[in-house]
Amino acid sequence: METFALSEPVLLVLLSLAEQPRHGYSILKDVESMSNSRVLLSTGTLYGALQRLLYNGWIERLEEHNSPRDRRTYRLTSRGRRNLQMEIQRMRHLTKVAGLRMARKEA
């Protein structure tokens, strides 16, 4: 797996784009909805994360002829999807281990 620090906001941004391509405001609202309003991204945080994901080739910016400059759409690349799947796999494993440990403690 690539060494890229996946903070919770970045993970949620990736999950938001995993479903469909979105523009900035749509990502902001989707992250809020996915986290039950626990993670509220500011535009500064969002575009910082998007810049890093673009740089690493995890997402791409769609160049549409009719889209205005202030409403660009972002899409997950195959590399981003692969890394996201590996991150989910890692979390699934961690959850499983946590469940087992907690069950052992309670028994």
Binding site: G24, Y25, T45, Y47
Partner: protein, 159 residues
């Protein structure tokens, strides 16, 4: 008015970032602002989050220029389990008090300084700097020998 402040704060970002995302960020901010609940607390929370995010984002964008997107020391921010020791607060307060005192003292003596006084002041400052560097090196050496220096703390954080 608020939108103007936001656009002004965008100038804190590096030019390349501003050219690439400036218009989009302004547009998203405008949309997000229009959906904030009318309650005063909600508005305060929204503006605090936005302006802090902008300042923090600008700072990070400047660091990313020489270091790339994965800034090594920025991992403090990414590691929620990392906590500075409590003594850091005391140390920072002491440093802040020393700086304030030094500024006050310097402004009081700045008025009547002759050329020779300036030279002696510069040499005094150099001696003090040398003494402080030596003291810092000795303290760091002791901490490192006891495996309590920042190097070991960082190893613990990443492992």
């Amino acid at each position: 008015m608020v939108l103007r402040i936001y656009c002004w704060l965008l100038w804190l970002y590096p030019g390349s970032h501003r050219d690439k995302f400036g218009e989009e960020m302004t547009c998203v901010f405008r949309e997000a602002r229009s959906t904030v609940a009318p309650a005063l607390t909600a508005k305060i929370s929204f503006y605090r989050r936005e302006f802090c995010g902008l300042l923090f984002g600008a700072l990070r964008a400047h660091f990313e220029r020489p270091f790339g997107p994965d800034i090594p020391f920025w991992r403090f921010y990414m590691q929620p389990e990392f906590r500075f020791p409590r003594s850091t607060v005391l140390l920072m307060l002491l440093i802040f008090a020393a700086v304030v005192l030094a500024i006050a003292e310097a402004s009081s003596v700045a008025g009547d300084m002759s050329g020779s006084a300036w030279r002696s002041l510069v040499s005094l400052l150099l001696v003090m700097l040398l003494a402080m560097c030596t003291a810092a090196a000795v303290i760091w050496g002791i901490l490192h020998a006891r495996r309590r220096s920042g190097v070991y703390r960082l190893q613990n954080v990443h492992s």
